[in-house]
Structures are given as structure tokens and as C-alpha cells.
Symmetry: C2
Subunit: 579 residues, 2 copies
Amino acid sequence: MTRTSIATVCLSGTLDEKLEAAAAAGFDGVEIFENDLIGSARSPEEIRARVRDLGLTIELYQPFRDAEGAPPARFAAVERRFRAKLDLMARLGAEMILICSSVAPDTIDDDELAAGQLRRLAGMAGARGMRIAYEALAWGRHVSTWEHSWDLVRRADHPALGLCLDSFHVLSRTDAYGEIPGDRVFFLQLADAPRLDMDVLQWSRHHRLFPLQGRLDLAGFTGAVLRAGYRGPLSLEVFNDVFRQSDPHRTAVDARRSLTALTGGLTPAPRLTGIAFAELSVDAGSGPELERFLRTLGFAHTGQHRSKPVQLWEQGTARILLNAGATGAASIRAFALESTDPAASARRAAELLATPLPRRRRSSEADLTAVAAPDGTEVFFCRDDHGWLDDFLPTGESPVKGGLVTGIDHLSLAQPFDRYDEAALFYRTVLGLTEDEASEFAAPYGLIRTLALRNDDRSVRLGLSVPLLRRGDWAPAVPHPQHITFVTDDMAAVAGAMESVDIPGNYYDDLAARLDPPPLPRNALHDQDEHGHYQQLFTPVVGDRVFFEVVERTGGYRGYGFANDPVRMAAHRAHRGAR
Amino acid sequence: MTRTSIATVCLSGTLDEKLEAAAAAGFDGVEIFENDLIGSARSPEEIRARVRDLGLTIELYQPFRDAEGAPPARFAAVERRFRAKLDLMARLGAEMILICSSVAPDTIDDDELAAGQLRRLAGMAGARGMRIAYEALAWGRHVSTWEHSWDLVRRADHPALGLCLDSFHVLSRTDAYGEIPGDRVFFLQLADAPRLDMDVLQWSRHHRLFPLQGRLDLAGFTGAVLRAGYRGPLSLEVFNDVFRQSDPHRTAVDARRSLTALTGGLTPAPRLTGIAFAELSVDAGSGPELERFLRTLGFAHTGQHRSKPVQLWEQGTARILLNAGATGAASIRAFALESTDPAASARRAAELLATPLPRRRRSSEADLTAVAAPDGTEVFFCRDDHGWLDDFLPTGESPVKGGLVTGIDHLSLAQPFDRYDEAALFYRTVLGLTEDEASEFAAPYGLIRTLALRNDDRSVRLGLSVPLLRRGDWAPAVPHPQHITFVTDDMAAVAGAMESVDIPGNYYDDLAARLDPPPLPRNALHDQDEHGHYQQLFTPVVGDRVFFEVVERTGGYRGYGFANDPVRMAAHRAHRGAR
């Protein structure tokens, strides 16, 4: 089993907090980032003991800068500095140091000189049983490709000198990275990133992500390095502005999950066949309002939980639970997915470090297992035999036949600012969903990012959204409520029955100028793609965190109407102001 | 007097909120951004009336996209859409529309075709007494330079068709923009930006700033356009992620200030000769602790305010007021600057929209006038004759002669996340300071940006700092306290007297490996530049918002020790944990 490691620079907090988080998430080792050590009040010996007590190993000490290519007059100072760092490593119990290619303006472009200097430093390290992993920074002054760093390592030809490969530095430059000398790769650092057209140094310093969260081919690269014979740890080195200021325990779990998903060997994701139910927490204010909305849409209150204050509402294949036993304002607290193998779904979730939740049901319903999503939303797995319905006593009301709503189209889950990339990876890997559509738009109080995920047959669709920047005092506290989107095949009837928020006339004027759509029911929004049309209708927001949407898809429209989100948000804002 | 205008897209909120903020900040007019109108529940007629009632005019309606170069089969739809927008403008009372160069993939690269289409649209607009301002987007499909847009306008040759120049689109591509046909420029949009090496579309959409807040030559460009004979408004069009989610009233003031500073004609900034005093608010807990720190540094409590619970502490030229009459935790609530002409300083501040503060002093001290900085910090202007000291009754204690501290070196003012760019522009323009040094570093709980400002002779130095991202639940609530930095010429004596936070031994090991500095007093940090050396010593944080620093500069060192900030922050964090 390949060892896993994480650089302390990936995590927020003090060195102690970082080490504890890495250990708790199950990493085997860490890279000690020099600045974290310098800021720590613990001595190297104390850090060594702490690392050991936590069950970790120090895989790498890093970085050592501006070594190779130094003008000979400066190289004496490099040697002095290097010797001091070897002394430090001996105290720490670290056996490998990373040297990254020089960026200093006075660096000399002379491979023979540089290789000789690296050989000399390798001699110093080797004499103490230590090794050097030499890495080409993508913005190195003269050495900026892994091939060039490999050329220097070959020229230096010292057993204590090998390569450090960093997936970001390699893949940010090229996808054609050629033949990798696996036995001379001493260390492998992994980082993903979105594809950004910007200065590579800034891209690297601010926007790295954990594997599978970005757009670099981490799976291909990692596989190639492992096939080439690399036997060291898979170590994450991610510089990310958000991770730097987020709870390191959550970030470490996110990081560990990304490595687990990358290296595979997981229980395959069973096929999902639909959303069994969505559960809303309600309170004295929101409960009656949500019940009223459901009633006007044609839902029936068909069941009451045997032991808990939970109502079951049904229409078509849509099932909504209203849970008055939970605390807090109305929100989506849980949803259940129909799986062809709920136990395997839960097993895969556990393998991917999802937090298992205590069973809420009686033991007879063993299939209904749940895990917590990154923001705490409960995700249940159940069979499509509706066995979980036995928990509910019939009220006598029957589901409406041929009602307005035929099922749940998708769930829109607003995410906490710090957890967006984690949530996307979580839902994608745990549930085996694929990315469907991503969008960024200007809402009245700031920019919003949205990502839709779906399974193959679109029977499970989730929308994730997050503000591009964390909101402050000015913007509404809950800038983008969650919502449950129902699907209908008779939007005109829905519009006649449902309480909807008023859509500005200016929207319809613009729509007519742009698209000349067919007549729309009152307050319905319109979108279209190359397949067909989409109509959307919204209830007011209940409390400040949840509302219902009803959509009609015609002709195979595949989107989510993201382009209309700013209008919907402005309409909700105006509705709130008007109350 | 040139009219001023702001595009509604610069501001956060609903259209109503944006219009109110623009009017309150004193703008003459606005550009109505289409999405703001579409999201508004007000009819165009109601918006027209609202704009008029607020004393504004609509200078421009924008944007109209993908017009020129349309395949002939699509151009009929362009005309239909354009006619609908002219109808809308008639209802709004807008007389000019912006057409930006096409980005649609099907756009045809044929200047004759494009010019003919623009001529046709200009005919439609002209027939209704309206005009078109045509703008080259830097990322336009075929038209991406202002020279190209001017070529099409000349070819089209219609009196209702002119140019829109946008400083960002021009200056992001070139500083050599050539001869500008002033009488054919119908509209001038101004935006500054930092110099970023990235995709120009992303740069433009997320990182624009108000004039003088970035690195583009706004003054040169605006002057050139005005000299060329442009007579329309100066209008701001700034897409900025932070401004989009900040209080629009503050942003509008910031925007208006930038235009005022750009167009000049201000009272010249009088010469500043020093920091007269810094005033800390204190409470029952922090007061005694701050007094103790001041005492151990050699300060004497020399005066007591005649009517208020304010203590005066003095040493050398350093004067600290401790104000127990203010509410809230210990923090820097005010500072006073010695000006060769305090009245002129205050006049300039008022011209630059600084909020004047009611006089806190008796009428006999007319020179002590104050304005509020963006975060509410009170900035006083006074003569260097120390007349304000008359407000204080002597306690009998005398200032220590030849004490440890000789004066105030600088003030470090942590800024609210939303107000950083505004604060930098405020202090720079109101006080006539220049940028001294900018830095970005990784603090234990996230990245921090820092900017130092100073006057010519360095008798007034201010450091501004802000987290790169707004902090959330994990990072400490006050991640970067403010501080007052005193200067000494005997750091060893200070170190012997003062209670300082412990600096990790790892810091000294690394320092020795890197720089081999002369021996340092216990807990002192070291920095050096090409001029000389710098030593820094810190007290613990008092409350959670303020501490004292003492520095010694030798050999003309000019910096602020920013590189040591992460170590200082980690030390303060460790000190807090140890208490």
C-alpha cells in the first residue's frame, strides 16, 4: 500500500494544529514546511516526538532555495545554510530535503556548474545518511522543466541525489511528460488546479487544489510515476487561499479523500435510480407555510412517522419529509438516494471518509444508512422498494393521481464558503456523479459559482452553489437559499395553483427582445438550449434558507436555468422587501 | 466642470440601492447596466422618475452585445433586439446606448459588413434622437483595439455613431494609444486595475479598481482624452468582486473620491511633519496593561485631560493618549498629524469626501480638526506647536529625558476586508502619502496583504494590512491586530525593560543559517536591506486588537520587517495559548 503524506503548508493553523489534523485524517506522514517550523515554539526534538506520538513520519523537509547555479562566491553561504538545515533535520529525524530550482537573479545558466554544486550538496547529505530530492519549479530561473532537473541529477550522478516531481509543475506546462525514471524519483508531490490562463507562479501560489478537484490529469500522471517504479509516498502539496484559512481537520479529511479517490481500489459506486425523499427541518413559523405550498402544488400529507414529529408528503414520485423535531430554521437537512445496493453505497462512502451517522430508523430497516456531507447534510441510501415508508403510519390521505408535480427534478444545495471544492469532490466521488454544468454569475449582492452534478440517466441531479467571496455585513446573511426543484408537465396549471414570487416586467421585455419565446405562465422564467425549452416558477423563500421551484422541461432541455438565477434572486429580494 | 457618472454594475445591491448610493455620493449621472434593470421590479418609467428625483441623469444604457459582424441571416434578430432596446430607452429617458464589439463565435471578420451594420443601427437610433457609443472589448472576436473600433466608426460615417473609450480596454493592451479623435468620442469609461499577468477577460471581470487604486496610467489617459476635446461625462465602470458585495454607499464615496483625485484642482496637500499623537481606547482590563507597558518602556503619564477620562503619556516625541471614555476593546481610535497648514489639510480632506467629525476640543483650539478614515479611525490635523497639549493638566510627572523610546516610527492599521483599496486611496490622496512597500505573506491563519505609505521625509509612516480573503469561523476573529511602533536607539536596553513575546528558537536557527546577523537582544527579530539593519520587539497583544512594537533602525534601513510578520503572528498566537 502506497504511503500517504501531506505538506503542512496545505493546512491552516499552527504546526501543532496541522500535525494533529493530518494524523486524525489518517495520513501516514507529513512534509514539514520550513515556515511552519520557524513559527513553532517547539524545539525540533519536541516536534520529532510529537510527530512520532501522533503516528506520523516526517517524509520531507522543505524547501531549500537558490542552491544550484549560485555564483561561486555565494556558494560558500549556500553550503553553510545547507549544513545548518542538515543539522536541523538530524534533530527532527527527517531524512530527505527538497531543493527547488533557483529563482535568484544572480543564478548562473551553466548546467555543469549547477550539477557540480548539487553533487557537492548531495555529498554532504549522503555523508549523514540523508537524501536530496531536486525539483524544477515551473518559474525556475534556468531550470523550469522536470526534464532539465533530471538532466542535472544525471550529470551530478550521486546516490543521495534524486528527483522531486510535482504534478503541478509538470502538468501546468505540458501533458506530454515523457518517460519517467521511476527509481530516481525520490519524492512525488501531488496537486491539482483549475485550468487558468495566468502567470504560473500566481496560479500555483493561490489556486492549487487537491487531486481530482481541478482539471489537471492527476490520475494519468500518478499512474505513470507509479508504473515507472516510484516507491515513495504520495504527498499533497497544495497552496490554496481558502484552505489556508479553513479548519485544518476538515481540510485534512478532504485531502485524504482526494488521495483515496485518486488511488482507487474502492467499492464501485452502485447505480443510483432516483431521489427517494428530501427532508426539511421546520419550525413553528415555517412548517405551516411549507405545508401550504405543498398542498397548493397538489401534495398530500400521506403519512406520519410512528415515533417522531415527521410528516410525509407525496405526489408522483416526489416525497418530502417535514421534520419538526430538528432545531433551527427551515432548511434541507437530509435527502435519500435510491441505490441498487445501499450497503455498497454506504461502504464506498465510508472508504471515502464520509462521516457515518447513527441510524435514525428501527433495526428492521437496515438498508437506510446515512452519512454526513461536508456541510452536515445527511445523505441516506435506500433500496427503491420504498421499504422506508413502513416507518410512517398512513393518515388516510392518498397521493393525488395525475397531480401537478410528477417528481423531484433536482436539489440545489447552497454550500458554506470554505467547503465548496470539498463538497463537489464528495458528491462526485461518493455518489459516482459527473459534472454536468458549471456557471458563474452576478447576483445582486455578489458573484455566485454554481455546479450541477448528475448520474448517467439524470435520475439524480444536485446543484451546488457558493459565493465567490465570503459574504460580509452588507450582503444578506443567507445570500443563496437552498431549494427543492419539482418537475411538472403542466406548468400552466402549476402557475394557476401556486403562490409564486413576482418576476419583473423588465425580464419579459428583455426575453421577448432576445428569444421571442412562446407565451409563458405568469411569473415563469424561460430558458432554452439546443435540445428544448425550460420554464421555472418559484415560491417565496420560507424563513431565509429554503424555497420550492417547479420546472417543466420540453424537448429534452438539459440545463438548470442558471442564467435566470440573478433575476430569481432579485425577485426573492424584492418579495422579502415587499412583505 | 466635467460631469461624473458611475455604472450601476460597480455597486452592490438592487437598482434602487445603487441609484441612492450614487446620488448620495454626489455623482451627476449613472450608466444603467442592463442586468440591474432586468432584475428591478420598477418599470422603466418608474426608474426614470426615481433617477430624476435623486437628481441624477441616465448617461448611458449598456451593454448591447453581438451586433456588428453578425451573419446577415442573424442581423434581422439583432435589429429586432436593438429596436426593443431603443423602445426601452425612450421609456427610461436614456439617449445613448453602448454597443460593445461582438464576441459571438459566428461573427464575420469583414469591416465593410460590420460598418454597414453599425450604420444601419445608428440610423435607427438617430431617427429617435438617440446615439450609439461603440466600444472595442479587449477580448472582442475581431474588434479588440480602440483603433479598430474607430476605423469602423469612420467607415460607418453616421452622426449618431461614435466611440466609447474604456481606459481598461485601452491600457490593458498598450500605453501607446496614439491620437484620440475627441469629438467622436461619445463616452469615456474609466477603470484602473492592478498589473496582472492573466487572461484579460478574467482580469477585467474580477480585478478592476477605481482610478488611482491600480497601476494603469489613468491620469495620462484621461488627460489625453479631455485634451482631445471630449466633453461627455467621466464615468466609472468597475467590475470588482469585493465592491460587488460591499455597502454601495461606501463604495460610491470611494468611487467619487477616486474621480475627484483624478481630475485634480484640489487644495494641495500641506507638508506633514510628524505624528503628534496616537490615541487608544481602553477599558478596565486593557487600560492598566497598556499603562504598564508604557511605563516599562520609559513613558511618563504627564497629563490628564481637563474634562475627559483621557491620559497623556509622553517620551521623546512619542505621545500616546489612553481614552477610557470610549466604548469597545482596546484599539487605535485616533491619531493626529502635524501639518504646516492644518486648515488646508482639513479642506483637502473634505474635498476628497472625508467625513468631517465634530470637534472634540474647546473652541480655543481651532486647529485640531478631524475626519474619519474609511474604517472610522479619527484622523486629526494640528500644528507642530503642541497647542493641543493645553487640553491636558500636568500631572507633575515629567517626560523622561534620554529614555528608551525616542518617537513613533509608524502606525500599523489593520483594515476591514471590504475597505482596503479604499483606505489605501484615502490615506494616499488625503494625506499626500506615497506607496513605500507592498507585501503579501502567509500568516498562520491565511494570507495577509500589507502596504506601507509614507511622506517624503518619512516623518509620517502608516502600514495598512488586510487578509487576502475575509476570515471565517476557523481563523481568529481578529487575525491581525493593530499596533503602534516606537523607535529606539538602544534596543538592548528596551529588551531588558520591556515585556516581550517569546520568539521561537527555530527562528534564530534559521536566521543564523541565512544571514549570520550580529547578536540580537532576547526576543528581537532581525531584518536587513541594502542600507542597514532593523531590530523589532513586540509586547503581547492587549485585548485582541492592539500591541506595541519597538524597533531600532541602523544604517538607514528603510523597510518595516514585513518578512518577519508570520513569525510575530505565530508568537502572539503561542503567547495567547500559553496564558
